[in-house]
């Protein structure tokens, strides 16, 4: 259940990316649908408003037509176009040519009946008798005040409400989508936890029994075999430690003390000495004295162990490892097979392994990253394929 509590931490970056894409797409689609509905609703409201205006406008148009008729009859004497302060108007002949206009706009869509443009309502009517040659008359009145503000307020309110409901539905949908992924992680964590429990007792029994053997009395051949057993057991023991850390890391309380890094690194080199020997790795060390770090001793040891064990594991027989300790960093450089550039960013992900020829669960660097994160240490990996890898921990 630990994994469930921390599933968001455990999700790999690729899965997170998928989730982000899903959420973005979902939000985008939701907004698109909402915008479409809002557009339709706005159109309906606008049509309703125009319908309400239609009767008034029709009456005004008739008044204007009466004036045009009078003008037509007396055109020789009077040539002033009738104006009204309640509206602007224009007349067009049957070839849609403008005869006269007091409108604010030059472009009028004479094929429409009534429409809204630039905060004005345009009402178009066809004359029965073409006074002054006018077949179409257009009336322009300002749109009624605040009608659209009311609509926008309504739209915004309902839109936000519906969006929120859809977001909640999206959240449940996302959970549904994530369930198989989380189940897999839970399954894997539980499997490791169970395996770990089963490993603990036999490994401890082997290691403590080896320690009890008096190596002085053994002949060369047997000593070699015992050493091999020791290496193998330590490897298992390391793995056990890693797995325990992984499973219980959230429950382990850090006990930060001043750690002398030189002593610690030497200790860890000593611990891995048999492994170095077995792979005939040439070790060069350059450690500055008196460098201290306030950190949990076990965690720092785990961090170094993981980097060191990787440097050994992926090294070639007779390769080299160089360890240096300076005031602000530890650098471990190996002559191993290296990591592809495109995959360097993924090495810290749990269960990611790029080389299946050697053992492991792909959790080592994940542990390194989590410890580094806890103590605000920077981990930088430089690698050239076929030449080696340099891991640098700086603070």
């Amino acid at each position: 259940m630990l994994a469930l509590k921390n599933w968001d931490i455990n999700l790999r970056s690729r899965e997170k990316k998928t989730l982000r894409s899903f959420l973005l797409l979902y939000a985008f689609l939701t907004l698109l649908i909402l915008a479409f509905v809002a557009f339709l609703y706005y159109g309906l409201e606008r049509d309703l408003m125009l319908q309400n205006q239609r009767e008034t406008l029709s009456n005004l148009t008739n008044e204007q037509i009466t004036r045009l008729k009078a003008l037509h009859i007396n055109f020789e004497k009077e040539q002033t176009y009738p104006r009204d302060e309640r509206f602007n108007s224009a007349i067009y002949d049957s070839s849609l040519k403008q005869i006269f206009s007091t409108l604010n706009t030059k472009k009028v869509n004479l094929y429409e009946d009534i429409y809204l443009k630039n905060n004005h309502i345009y009402f178009i009517k066809e004359l029965e008798s073409y006074y002054l040659g006018a077949r179409y008359i257009v009336l322009e009145v300002p749109e009624p005040r605040v009608w659209d503000k009311k609509v926008f307020r309504k739209l915004l309110g309902y839109g936000a409400l519906i969006f929120m409901v859809l977001v909640i539905i999206g959240y449940f949908l996302l959970n549904l989508l994530l369930r198989p992924m989380r189940d897999t992680i839970v399954l894997l964590d539980r499997f490791i936890k169970d395996t770990t429990h089963e490993l603990n007792t036999p490994v401890n029994a082997i290691l403590s029994n080896i320690e009890m053997i008096d190596t002085q009395t053994l002949d060369e051949n047997l000593l070699k075999k015992i050493r091999r057993i020791t290496i193998a057991s330590k490897t298992i023991s390391n793995l056990y430690d890693d797995l325990t850390y992984l499973i219980l890391s959230h429950q382990i309380l850090s006990q930060d003390v001043q750690v002398d890094l030189k002593t610690l690194i030497e200790e860890r080199i000593e611990y891995f000495s048999l492994l170095f020997e077995s792979k005939k790795i040439e070790l060069s060390v350059n450690l500055e004295e008196g460098i201290f770090l306030t950190i949990d001793h076990k965690k720092m040891a785990k961090l170094i162990d993981n980097i060191l064990s990787n440097a050994i594991k992926y090294n070639k027989i007779g390769g080299t490892i160089h360890i240096s300790l300076t005031k602000h960093s530890i650098e471990i450089k190996d002559s191993g097979r290296g990591i592809e550039k495109s995959k360097i960013n993924q090495v810290f992900e749990r269960y990611s392994r790029f080389d299946r020829s050697v053992g492991g669960f792909g959790i080592g660097l994940n542990i390194v990253a989590s410890i580094a994160k806890e103590y605000d240490l920077q981990v930088k990996i430089d690698s050239i394929l076929g030449e080696g890898t340099t891991v640098r921990i700086s603070w």
Binding site: F75, K97, Y130, G133
Partner: protein
């Protein structure tokens, strides 16, 4: 002497003014009619609206005048009768109609 001068000036104006097809072929008859020529124009405008349609309708009537396609109301037709068919060529007729349109059109006259 003054009278003679005025007479000649008047004659000159009349002759010069009536150089166009419209002035020569339309005005003389219409001048004597009870219904003035501009009334015909506004009747056409009332029925046909655009320049093209007005001119087409006039041209059609002038080429083939009939009581049915006259713009005048029945009473007037009965009183004055239908005019004779035009003797003008298409080009001349068109020119006359153009002049007529220019003289009485509403465009640019409204204030």
């Amino acid at each position: 002497m003054v009278r003679i001068t005025f007479f000649f000036i008047f004659l000159a104006i009349s002759v010069f003014a009536r150089t166009g097809v419209y002035q020569k072929n339309c005005i003389p008859c219409h001048e004597d009619m009870a219904v003035k020529i501009d009334k015909f124009f506004y009747r056409y405008l009332l029925k046909y609206s655009s320049e093209m349609e007005v001119k087409n309708a006039m041209s059609k009537y002038l080429k083939n005048p009939k009581a049915e396609n006259s713009i005048l109301v029945d009473g007037l037709i009965n009183r004055f009768g239908v005019k004779k068919k035009t003797t003008l060529s298409d080009e001349q007729l068109q020119e006359a109609l153009d002049t007529y349109w220019e003289q009485y059109k509403v465009f640019d006259k409204l204030k």
